[in-house]
Amino acid sequence: MLKTISIRLFTSLLVILGSLVLVFVIVYLLPGDPVMSMVDPSTVTPEVLASLRAQLGVDRPLYEQFGSYVSKVLQGDFGKSIVNDDPVLPKIIAHLPATLALTAASCLIAAVVGIWLGVLSAIHRDRWIDITARVVGLFGISMPTFWSGILLILLFSITLDWFPAMGSEGWKTLVLPSIGLGIVGAGFVVRLVRNSMLEVINEPFIVTLRAKGISEKLVMYRHALRNALIPALTMIGVLSGDLLAGTVVIETVFSRQGIGRVISDALMSKDLPVVQGVVFFSAIMYVIINLIVDLSYRIIDPRVRRSQ
């Protein structure tokens, strides 16, 4: 058990370091000049540019920049934004809660709605509940989030005035964006849970349970669902990464604070230190979520527990 976890932690560290290297190289290879985004290109003089470059250290070779960056990160110094000199770490810490809340809420919606509809749809195969669930699933998957986000605003904010269209203060502002994002995840989960439920339902052990005279509800929710949950859980683990990425769009549509917007702004202006900082934190979060998913298999499935 301890060994498994320590191996997992070690590989997680590799993933985080790998993502840092990758981002460093990609941003370095992109055309354009970060310093140019700080100034008005039609008026700035070459001397000002040169001094800015030296100040930021972007005139040094890549490996030197990377080396000094990693050593600083280890000391907890993530550098400053080149756009407005904001220190990166406090910026991320300030924006992280809003994004975490959004990701968690939409994961919850994806899981609850997805599993519930998936089970219903498998139990009532080919009846109207099944068809509705599958339509909802298809919708969730195929609607781009900016579009569903705007529809939600149009309906629940402007027309009905139930929830605010923008902002990130209080639980009310969380409702529409997490529905907008969660419905995508729900779409995937519905399909998956439905399929694996259908598979499980026809397995011999279910037939046996039924033959024993155990109530249909208990068979479905206690025994069949438990078996169908494993793939769903893996899916939700993967989805959490997608949802994290989805916050970039949703946070912009709903004018929320969050690291999704921080990174999209930073990418636009080639704000290297900020991009690296956010990627670093996203990698950590992704790794943590996957760790949790892996560990929770052991709780749900006794086979996984025993095999270790």
């Binding site: 008026t43 070459p46 407005n84 000199d85 298809l138 309906l155 904010s157 990130s168 912009t252 004018s255």
Partner: protein
């Protein structure tokens, strides 16, 4: 299986229809119930019949996030909306172009035009209690020149400023390298407004997060990507002649909310979640005019309109005839009417109509004429092929059109229409949309047409686009690659000519030459547009079309 498929399709169709109906209702309900109420579109303010009501909080949705609130370091127009509430300038420029006192009571210009002596107001204090005086002004302008400040934009604005001498506590002399008519006007701009020297020293490069000025509002807080809050400065009594209220503003607070998504921004104004929102697109302007709960405030920006610069350093655009072919083949009227539905004005000159020196005689001058355009290309030896594309020496006539924004103000749609229009004369247009215009346009010069605009208060703005000595960062030519010694000398004379009538003539010459030689294709004049709830009264604009909140109040 077949049955399952078709019921699925029906469900999709029904759900889609339901959503469309629901969202459609949202629009029509409001539209039909209020179609009789004509919304007021006012150039400067609404009927100011009612007595200003004190207090209240004005929420104002901005389209993008400001970069910094340090005026000297900012490069974004959106930041200026907030910067202007916190900071004052030495002088004010009225929409008619005249320069009026603000923090400076009066001034004299030396005979050679190279030094300006300002008498400053003696009753002004910064928000942090620091007294405003000649030392503070000197500190500010020296700060802009200091490379440590990284003040690239404001540094360009105070050029050719050289040094300041403090003559006594409230008198300061500013020395210039060379005389400049644009200098005073530029001092009126928000990017060279005055910050508290105490705060600038205390916060250093973090001043942008803790701005301190002498303005009508004091900075309270900035939650990044969310909102900026400023509150009334009760001691304020030095408002510029741009506004009526010379005392502290009526509003308790202005809260700038950052709402990048257009639909959300407009929706928030419509639902009353914010009282005002900026940058309203044309199709919404028409709809909002019909909404009796809302009103529009609009002001045309000054400086350079949205202009397509034709790159003369590339063949065949170095030939006048080729450029004229573009000029006559592109139907600007059709573009502006189609895309902006009559809410934007068409541009005719390298300058916008409000700018000093604007040459009105250019209006209506260039007319679309496909026959002429075709004839011009024929003369250049480009032969129309079977595929409808012109070729010469086996090379197809293509035009590389670069745009730098993801459809800001429908600029990408302009490119698309021009693509269609130029097809009619056998020119293929390749459109490249890239955020990285700095590399593509300014460093590599890889464009035949590139569109840009610039907000400015003085025709001196023409220099960095049309003077042959103007080079960009990479030491490359000005945008159109234009070299004309006559135009150079007019721009140079315009900078020092004291007689306004003669100065006007010089700039008229520049504008005529640029249009005659088809250096550019001017497209539209951008109107800064705010949609606001009817209760919001008296938002005013400065000469650059930035909003001022000194007179604004919320009707109870």
């Amino acid at each position: 299986m077949l049955k399952k498929r078709s019921s699925l399709k029906i469900m999709i169709a029904l759900t889609t229809a339901l959503i469309l109906v629901l969202s459609g209702c949202a629009g029509t309900n409001k539209g039909s119930s209020t179609s009789d109420g004509a919304a007021s579109v006012s150039e400067t303010n609404t009927a100011a019949a009612s007595e200003p009501a004190k207090g209240g909080e004005l929420t104002y949705a901005l389209a993008t996030s400001p970069d910094t609130l340090d005026p000297h370091r900012s490069g974004l127009a959106v930041a200026v909306r907030a910067i202007r509430t916190i900071h004052d300038s030495l002088v004010a420029q009225l929409p008619d172009g005249s320069i009026q006192p603000w923090l400076a009571e009066e001034w004299t210009v030396s005979e050679d035009g190279k030094s300006y002596t300002f008498k400053l107001r003696q009753d002004v204090k910064f928000h942090d209690g620091t007294p405003f005086n000649a030392e503070a002004v000197k500190y500010n302008y020296d700060r802009i020149l200091n490379p440590e400040t990284k003040a690239a934009n404001s540094a360009a604005l105070i050029r050719p400023y050289k040094s300041a001498e403090v003559l006594d506590e409230y008198t300061i002399k500013l020395n210039l390298e060379t005389p400049s008519n644009a200098f005073l006007g530029n001092l009126s701009q928000a990017l060279v407004s005055i910050v508290s020297p105490t705060a600038a020293q205390k916060y250093g490069d973090q001043l942008g997060k803790n701005p301190v000025g002498t303005g009508p509002f004091k900075f309270v807080s900035w939650e990044e990507n969310s909102q900026i809050t400023v509150e009334r400065n009760p001691d304020y009594k030095w408002a510029p002649p741009l506004v009526e209220n010379k005392e502290a503003p009526y509003l308790d607070k202005v809260v700038f909310k950052i709402v990048p998504e257009e639909a959300t921004r407009i929706g928030s104004v419509q639902s009353g979640q914010v009282l005002a929102g900026e940058t309203i697109p044309p199709q919404n302007i028409l709809a909002l005019k019909k909404d009796e709960k809302l009103q529009l405030f609009q002001s045309n920006t000054q400086g350079l309109p949205y202009t397509l610069f034709i790159n003369q350093s590339k063949a065949p655009w170095n030939e006048l005839k080729a450029r004229q072919a573009l000029q006559t083949a592109i139907d600007v009227d059709a573009i502006v009417k189609t895309l902006y539905l009559g809410t934007y004005d068409r541009a005719w000159s390298p300058l916008t109509p409000g700018t000093f020196g604007y040459d009105k005689s250019l209006e209506g001058g260039v007319k679309p004429d496909l026959d002429k355009a075709n004839a011009l290309l024929d003369e250049l030896g480009y032969v129309l092929g079977a595929d409808g594309i012109r070729t010469k020496d086996g090379k197809k006539l293509t035009l590389h059109y670069v745009d730098g924004s993801p459809n800001r103000e429908k600029r990408n749609d302009i490119a698309a229409i021009i693509q269609q229009q130029l097809k009619q004369i056998g020119v293929t247009v390749e459109v490249e949309i890239t955020k990285d215009v700095r590399t593509v346009v300014y460093e590599n010069g890889n464009y035949d047409i590139y569109g840009n605009s610039q907000v400015n208060s003085d025709p001196e703005a023409l220099r960095s686009f049309y003077h042959s000595s103007a080079v960009n960062v990479s030491g490359k030519q000005n945008l159109p690659g234009y070299k004309n010694t006559e135009v150079d000398s007019w721009i140079d004379q315009g900078l020092i000519e004291k007689d306004p009538v003669k100065r006007q003539e010089l700039y008229a010459n520049v504008q005529k030459a640029i249009i005659e030689q088809a250096v550019i294709i001017p497209i539209y004049v951008f109107p800064y547009t705010i949609a606001a709830s009817k209760s919001v009264t008296d938002i005013k604009f400065d000469s650059l079309a930035y909003p001022l909140f000194n007179d604004a109040f919320i009707q109870k």
